[in-house]
């Protein structure tokens, strides 16, 4: 069972080949998506200029993904148990690489998705990140692409 990180959901929207290849063997019921990631993806789509035709394409794609997850019951809420895990992650120094290869702190909402994976014992699908080895001893496992 796996859950897509917020970044992986965006890569799914742009049909990243590496991600698609990795996800291909997984049946619908095994791929989960956090509502937090849905919100982040929506925010990125809304940030596109209103006249950009790509906006409606991404919007359709996101709705398709959400519809698939809803029909398979794999859309994950952010509940209080997850919030307890999130609270443990908040003070930690967790770094990720940005698009330019610079180290930046893992955002609070990305930590919510990590907490969701942790609470539900799901593998987090994400590109390799410097913070992964830090959380492995806590029982979190990652599926990189």
């Amino acid at each position: 069972m796996i859950v897509l990180s917020a970044r992986a959901l965006l890569d799914l929207l742009i049909q990243d080949e590496q991600l698609l290849r990795m996800l291909r063997p997984y049946p619908i019921q095994q791929v989960h998506i956090s509502v937090v990631s849905i919100g982040r993806a929506e925010q990125h789509i809304q940030a596109l200029p209103p006249g950009d035709p790509s906006r409606s394409i991404y919007d359709s794609r996101l709705r398709s993904i959400v519809g698939t997850a809803r029909s398979a019951n794999t859309l994950l809420p952010f509940d209080w148990q997850t919030a307890m895990k999130w609270a443990l992650l908040l003070p930690m120094q967790l770094d990720v690489l940005d698009a330019n290869g610079n180290l930046v702190p893992l955002g609070d909402d990305s930590r919510q998705v990590v907490a969701t994976a942790w609470q539900r014992a799901l593998q987090l699908v994400e590109r390799p990140q410097p913070y992964h080895p830090q959380l492995a001893p806590h029982g979190l496992s990652f599926l990189s692409y």
């Binding site: 291909r24 789509i45 990720v96």
Partner: protein, 146 residues
Amino acid sequence: MSDVMKALNQDLIRHDLDAALPRVVDVLAGGSAAGLGVREARDRFTQLLRDARAGQAQVVGSEEDGQVFIVSAREVTGLLAEVIETRSFVEAVCSGPGFDQQPDTLLQFEERPRSSEAFLPGGALPAMSRAERGTDGEAAAPYRRR
């Protein structure tokens, strides 16, 4: 009950429409010679339609030549469940709307700056001026973010 009627019953119980439909057509064409009268065949169809109305079977469509297809709702549900279980996530998602078009703009993920840093005590908050703190002996003015 005639042998034909028994066989037809078995076909319908098994939902084996491939066997049942030609048998009925044959009976209707052959009439009483096949052992099943038109009236019995009509009664059997009436029963099937009654089952359909009760949700035990469902009419899912017909063709121009008048053939009507009747299947069990339970079987359709089972088939759908089987398809859903075996369908891959990527296949399901990428067959949806929007994935048949190519966007010109690529979305690029960016981490949002950590909001908690703005509220960490001792350092992250901007220092208040003397006017904002209030003078000695006076109540402090409400903090306003600059």
